[in-house]
Amino acid sequence: MAFEKDCPHALPESSDHKPPHEARRMFLKQSSILTAFALTPGVAVKAADLKFEEKVAAAFEQVKVTLEINGKKHKLSLEPRTTLLDLLRERLQLTGTKKGCDYGQCGACTVHVDGQRVNSCLTLAVMQDGKKVTTIEGLADGDNLHPMQEAFIKHDGFQCGYCTPGQIMSAVACIREGHADSDEEIREYMSGNICRCGAYPNIVNAIKEVKNGGLKV
């Protein structure tokens, strides 16, 4: 089990792990005390300047989250505005998941959450508390590539490689969902994943091969 010791703004570990709404309430309470303090005239005002208040507020905005990522449990303390994508890339150094737009329009950030494909840029990490996340780094079985990864290499389903993790995660889900029965269906259900290099026909061929090969995805 991994714990994020290096997080620069993590709260100290404590036994009374409060749910997010309680943390929020505590923040408000603390914050109003500070405001009252700030309203006091004299030297005290300067001491409790706004920066200090914001710093305290920031600490209280941390939310505890437990995620299982690629089979490994992570106990994290996060700002609620942290997206699953930024958590993976910036905090956990799982940079296989790519940022291409931050709007859920390109699919480069596609991961599986409890087996379903999601755009991790549109997903706040705190919303996934207790869930299982699979990223491209967790798809292969050790040194043995997943059949979809093999097929992408064989059919040259990429060029620059940047959209590739998202395409592969989406492709695996596409077959699992039962949406890979024809070229047209594959193209339709893969259209959330943009490949600017334009390797689309090769991606379709890779998906078809995996689907028709009957291997478990």
Binding site: E90, T95, D156, C160, P165, S191, G198, Y200
Partner: protein, 748 residues
């Protein structure tokens, strides 16, 4: 040349050497480099297109949690290499790249005016929203169509009457005007954004006061190194540029941009590494684009289909501070046998950021007009457009009056026509149907100079038989590393699995930027030169050994294959490369070879060629146009890797589908700001837009172009695609659309 022709590997559809790292997510792109104590930078852009910053209020941002600094023109560390002038076009009339945080002037909307640095990405993004600026606004000029009368001849042409951007007249100027059988049409393309999937990103790290390392998304490792050395007035060798993996670029990595210098400024200020990744919106405003262009083509022909005159004029957009130019009219000068050709190229400076070459650059723009005009002329003449092109086929370059190095475009045209089923194309537009859908066929030709530059490769052979080659080129997606391994394998006589090609670092020997379809020609030739130099060293060691059976043998008497050298007339006399190194007690054998083009380029005219065929279906009620089949054919010399080259051709076709049907930046001329700023408004082709694409290579070597017989394919893959689709739509519907993209509203 004998050694080259083994070709065990060249031409084969080898899997990519970096396939595994790319499908497992292990490949690290610029923003994925993790350095200790790294800060995050987010840029704040101007909200006006032209004027002066009156005030920047950064107080709230500075107070926000985690913020380390907010930099702008008043407080940012000075960049010593900025040319000190009131306007970037002074004193150098051609202009200079935008000087970020130089002064209070605003030259384009969303110009970076502040950099927020914070300890986490979220905090940097949040604080960036708290920066408020007020402006003294000036009247901006951002409406291309209303200002074409202000277009100018590029300064480069004004200064040098022999420059290719000058007006060109072959035969009689504007001769089409007095001919009876003629067409005259205007064509417009909007600005298009490269939009590679990887957002432009940089990690900037000052390792010492005068020592800079950047992990940067670029197509020009050495160019970037030189640019930053100049900007910071530090020795070139003190700047290290790393671009191991580049997540697509299509041209926008061929220039250094404000965000790169901003991150370097930030790292200077903080004394810690700074990571800066643009947002998708910023990819539309500050890292170049294919410029909006207006074109006019006049063409005349004899009734039996001989072109008598072409006049092609173009105006391309540029910024107010840099003159960006491209070869929009080149294809018109050399492709067809017209005795009279006139071209005029102008640029229109607007209060918008500087464009940069986008795949197929100006040639793709020019080919849209020229190849559409060909189709229009053929229709007037009632001649099949393929036949019309063949009737005006050039066997010699009419512009330079030189023989082609090689040209197999005719073969490509015939192969492609057969494959698409050109015989199904109705001569009368709007007459072929598939149920409710109108069906049509169209073609477009593309060409691009078969360029080659100077490149150097270092090759090291180790006693275990492994070879490492290094060059400061990049791989933005075409599979450069893979192609280089294949070239090395055949030229060195070593299995590809034994060879590693390292790229993307300024520590490696120099290479030109990865642009203009020249990487295989430039770097591949250097790989070959280094391979031959290694073999020569091995040969002299083998033949110099007194006990050796090779004694006295000349280089030509030897065969190099499977990691061993043998005598041609006595194959049993052999030594592995490893044995030679071991005999000599060498831990490694190293060569560094430069390769450059020679005089052959003065004696011949060198181009790659493509021809694209499209089958489209148009729904008459909705105006929806779908490309249902594409055939793309390339005459680009010897193909090094059928799989990756085929993929590149498919990608060019997909890019062309976007250009033809969906892509276009929309400028709100009231504010001088694009309203298209993400993939919901700016539509790049997706899976559902992409039909099967058949790729055909003529695959005949051009040894005048390079010793491997190669020519580039990156640009020709997309040049000519958009007109093929536009022409197919005309054939399907009878509607000639001369302004891209061909959206449904233009077809109903």
């Amino acid at each position: 040349m004998k050694d080259y022709f083994f070709q065990d590997t060249i031409g084969k559809p080898m899997d990519r050497v970096d396939g595994r790292v790319k499908v497992t997510g292990a490949a690290k792109y610029s923003a994925e480099i993790e350095l200790p104590n790294m800060a995050h930078g987010v840029l704040v852009g101007s909200t006006i297109a032209k004027g002066r910053i009156k005030n920047i209020d950064t107080k709230a941002a500075e107070r926000a949690p985690g913020v380390l600094a907010v930099l702008h023109y008043q407080n940012a560390p000075k960049v010593p290499g900025y040319v000190q002038a009131a306007h970037p076009t002074e004193p150098k009339p051609i202009g200079q790249p935008h000087r970020v945080f130089y002064d209070d002037k605003v030259y384009f909307n969303d110009q970076p005016i502040a950099l927020v640095l914070a300890d986490t990405l979220e905090r940097a993004h949040y604080a960036a929203k708290l920066v408020k600026a007020s402006y003294e606004e000036e009247k901006h000029t951002t409406n291309f169509a209303k200002n074409t009368d202000k277009a100018i001849l590029p300064t480069a042409a004004k200064r040098n009457p022999r420059h290719g951007l000058n007006d060109y007249v072959r035969g009689k100027e504007d001769a089409y005007k007095n001919e009876p059988l003629k067409i005259e049409s205007e064509y417009v393309i909007p600005s298009e954004m490269h939009n590679p999937m990887e957002l432009q990103a940089i990690v900037a790290h000052w390792e010492a006061d005068d020592k800079l390392t950047v992990y940067d998304k670029t197509q020009a490792v050495i160019g970037t190194q030189n640019a930053f050395a100049r900007e910071w007035k530090i020795p070139v060798e003190n700047v290290k540029v790393i671009a191991t993996y580049v997540g697509g670029a299509f041209g926008n990595g061929l220039h250094t941009w404000p965000h790169e210098t901003a991150a370097i400024i930030g790292a200077k200020k903080l004394g810690r590494p700074v990571k800066l990744m643009l947002t998708r919106e910023q990819m539309f405003t500050m890292v170049g684009y294919r410029p909006h262009a207006w074109q006019k083509v006049g063409m005349s022909a004899t009734p039996d289909g001989k072109i008598t005159a072409i006049t092609h004029e173009a105006i391309g957009q540029t910024s107010s501070y840099e003159e960006f130019t491209e070869s929009t009219l080149q294809q018109t000068r050399m492709m067809y046998t017209s005795p009279n050709v006139t071209t005029r190229y102008r640029i229109l400076p607007l209060d918008i950021s500087t464009p940069i070459w986008m795949r197929g650059p100006g040639e793709a723009t020019g080919a849209f007009a020229l190849e559409s005009a060909l189709d229009e002329m053929a229709h007037v003449l009632k001649i099949d457009p393929l036949e019309f092109r063949l009737k005006n086929y050039t066997e010699r370059d009419p512009e330079k009056n030189l023989p082609w190095s090689t040209k197999f475009l005719k073969e490509a045209m015939l192969m492609g026509a057969e494959k698409i089923g050109w015989s199904n194309r109705p001569m009368q537009p709007g007459t072929l149907r598939d149920g409710e859908w109108q069906v049509g066929y169209g073609m477009g030709v593309g060409t691009f100079g078969a360029h080659r530059g100077r490149a150097t490769v270092k090759a090291t052979l180790y006693p275990d038989g492994k070879v490492v080659m290094q060059c400061a080129t990049t791989d933005i997606g075409p599979g450069t590393g893979t192609a280089m391994v294949q070239i090395a394998a055949d030229n060195l006589g070593v299995a590809p699995e034994q060879i590693t090609f390292e790229l993307g670092s300024s520590l490696f020997p120099p290479s030109p930027s990865q642009g203009g379809s020249a990487t295989v020609a430039s770097v591949g030739s250097a790989v070959r030169a280094a391979s031959i130099a290694l073999k020569q060293k091995l040969a002299s060691m083998a033949t110099g050994n007194a006990d050796s059976g090779f004694r006295g043998a000349k280089f030509e008497d030897l065969t190099f294959q499977n990691g061993q050298v043998s005598l041609n007339n006595s194959p049993g006399t052999k030594l592995t490369y490893s044995d030679i190194l071991k005999q000599q007690g060498l831990p490694e054998l190293e060569v560094t070879e430069e390769s450059k083009p020679g005089e052959e380029r003065q004696k011949y005219s060198l181009y790659s060629y493509s021809v694209h065929f499209a089958e489209v279906k148009v729904h008459p009620l909705t105006g929806q146009a779908r490309v249902t089949k594409m055939v793309s054919c390339a005459d680009a010399g010897k193909i090094v890797n059928m799989k990756t080259a085929g993929n590149q051709m498919i990608g060019g076709a997909v890019g062309g589908i976007g250009m033809a049907l969906t892509e276009g930046a929309v400028m709100d001329v009231r504010f001088g700001r694009y309203v298209t700023k993400d993939f919901a408004e700016y539509h790049v082709p997706v899976h559902a837009d992409t039909p099967p694409v058949d790729v055909i290579f003529v695959d005949k070597p051009d040894f005048i172009s390079t010793p491997m017989g190669t020519k580039g394919i990156g640009e020709i893959a997309t040049i000519g695609v958009a007109p093929a689709i536009a022409n197919a739509i005309f054939n399907a519907t009878g509607k000639r659309v001369r302004e891209l993209p061909i959206t449904p509203d233009k077809l109903i």
